[in-house]
């Protein structure tokens, strides 16, 4: 896919976040082009979720800036939030409300018209129509994930941000979710940025990977290019090289031990 003639959906420049003495994100630069799916990949504490939160405007950067659809998210995020959405297993919706009530509230917040039609269309696609009357708190993890994705697709976002979208899901449900996101993106051409440490998910969904460690970008490229560059057989091996700070072309002994 060629993105060269289009403006980036996301531009992060010298983006930093410090919490007191802790540097969570350290002057990172990246762009995300329209229609692409980009992963922020890194271990726990690498700065992925912090970066996503700054992209959403939930967290104000200490330095640098984020532009989404050309708007500075620290100051003008309300100009673009209607065109974005977000899903994370770590950010809930009210458990005492039914799925339908939750989605209705969010449809209002996103300013949608013909709310019932839209909710039914999204829920039909995600195969959760039978859950609409159930309280969110009574659903399984897999069902909640699908509801969260339904909420994230309500406004047909041009940019979807996902934080570990298949965390805590069994392999079958996780595979279904990945397949759905793949086909939805193909049909609607939206841009996706996801934070994950699930290698198979990233290899399957993403055009490009941004590898992070200790708040910094340590490498970036397509999954295939990274695997080739590091001389490994899978993205998981590349991840381990980076997470353990091993150099490219490290001795086979270490590699073998890791296998």
């Amino acid at each position: 896919m060629s993105f060269e003639t289009q403006s980036p959906v996301i531009v992060a420049q010298k983006l930093s976040k410090r919490f007191g003495p802790v540097v969570a994100v350290d002057a990172i630069d990246f762009t995300v082009m329209p229609g692409s799916t980009v992963a922020l990949l890194g271990g726990n504490g690498a700065g992925k979720t912090t970066t996503l939160a700054m992209l959403l405007g939930l967290l104000l950067p200490s330095d640098g800036e984020v532009r989404v659809f050309g708007e500075d998210m620290a100051r003008h995020r309300f100009r673009v939030l209607r065109r974005m959405n977000f899903s994370s297993p770590y950010v809930d919706m009210p458990k005492r409300l039914s799925v339908l009530q939750n989605l209705t509230v969010y449809a209002h917040l996103y300013g949608l018209d013909r709310i019932k039609e839209r909710i039914h269309a999204v829920c039909e696609g995600l195969n959760i129509e039978m859950l609409l009357k159930r309280d969110l708190g009574t659903l399984s993890a897999g069902q909640k994930t699908r509801v969260s994705i339904a909420k994230a697709l309500l406004n047909e976002p041009a940019l979807l941000l996902l934080d570990e979208p298949t965390a805590s899901l069994d392999p079958d449900t996780a595979d279904w979710v990945r397949g759905y996101l793949e086909s939805y993106r193909a049909a609607h051409g939206m841009t996706i940025m996801l934070a994950s440490h699930n290698m198979s998910e990233v290899e399957r969904l993403c055009d490009r990977v941004i590898m992070m460690r200790e708040g910094r970008i340590v490498d970036t490229g397509t999954p295939a290019a990274l695997i080739e560059h590091y001389g490994r057989r899978s993205l998981e091996e590349v991840f381990l090289d980076i997470a353990r700070n091993r150099r490219i072309g490290a001795d086979n002994g270490v590699s073998t031990a890791a296998q």
Partner: protein, 275 residues
């Protein structure tokens, strides 16, 4: 499918978002009869308790005998203040308990729209709370609170606004300090009770404390209520002072809430809240 109608104005959009937030809390109330019962229960209990105290004083005290219903009216009006405060704080803490703040603020909902929705929910909850108790006072004690006439609306409105200010202030503190501090939303308001002269004139307080009391809009409201009940006089001067202070406090509390919200965005608290 067109998801957004093109002609929607900014104001219409804001009202749809505020309406969405109100709907969210109406769903909670509608789906939980114990919550509605709790709303009605305490004001009714207050009214019953103070009603019997009034009956006793009516027979033993010439002061209260001059104005039957003063204690019941005071108890009900105090509950307006208490419920208005909780009407802000509880729906806000609902969002924190549900770990929903992160979801809300990645949507186009603006902080001042959330505040507007909380104010409207507070009004709804307070009306649900005190209306049954106010009506029940008539058959039980022959006290018709609505005989206060238009002044009742002025008292009610001023206590609502003070309750909003207190609720916003405490909600902002809970946002900053976390749910470990949620207790202040319940007991913090009682700091105002002795200073507001709910059941006695402000002159009863020690001289050094009276200037502090006169810094509260509620002190003017309860003095005004006694003026109506004892002297049949509506004191416009007291009302104007209450309104002036309320405007000041509501602006300060809203500013404090928005400032704490910004601090929460700096510290990453919107994603971390929850039980």
């Amino acid at each position: 499918m067109t998801l957004h109608s093109g002609g929607k104005s900014a104001l219409a959009g804001a009202w749809q978002r505020i309406g969405g937030m109100i709907l969210r809390h109406v769903y909670v109330l509608r789906g939980s009869w114990p919550r509605v019962l709790e709303l009605v229960y305490w004001p009714t209990m207050q009214m019953v308790l103070w009603g019997f105290i009034t009956v006793f004083f009516r027979e033993h005290s010439s002061w209260v005998a001059q104005a039957a219903g003063v204690l019941i009216s005071a108890a009900l009006l105090w509950d307006v203040l208490f419920r208005a405060n909780l009407g802000i704080a509880l729906p806000f803490m609902d969002e924190m308990w549900a770990r929903n703040l992160g979801q809300l603020f990645v949507s186009p909902l603006r902080p001042h729209e959330l505040v507007s929705a909380l104010l409207i929910m507070s009004l709804i909850r307070t009306l649900i709370s005190i209306t049954p108790a106010a009506l029940l006072a008539f058959p039980l004690y022959d006290v018709w609170v609505f005989s206060l006439g238009p002044s009742l609306i002025a008292f009610f409105a001023n206590l609502m606004v003070l309750g909003w200010s207190v609720g916003l202030f405490f909600s902002a503190l809970v946002l900053r300090l976390g749910l470990g501090a949620e207790g202040i939303c319940w007991y913090g308001i009682f700091l105002l009770a002795p200073l507001s002269g709910v059941y006695y004139p402000i002159e009863t307080l020690p001289a050094w404390l009276q200037p502090v009391a006169w810094g509260l809009p509620s002190a003017y409201v309860f003095e005004g209520m006694r003026a109506v009940l004892f002297e049949n006089t509506f004191r416009l001067d007291l009302l104007l002072k209450a309104v002036g202070l309320n405007i000041l406090y509501l602006l300060a509390a809203t500013g404090f809430f928005l400032w704490m919200f910004r601090r929460a965005r700096i510290r990453g608290l919107l994603l971390q809240q929850g039980e």
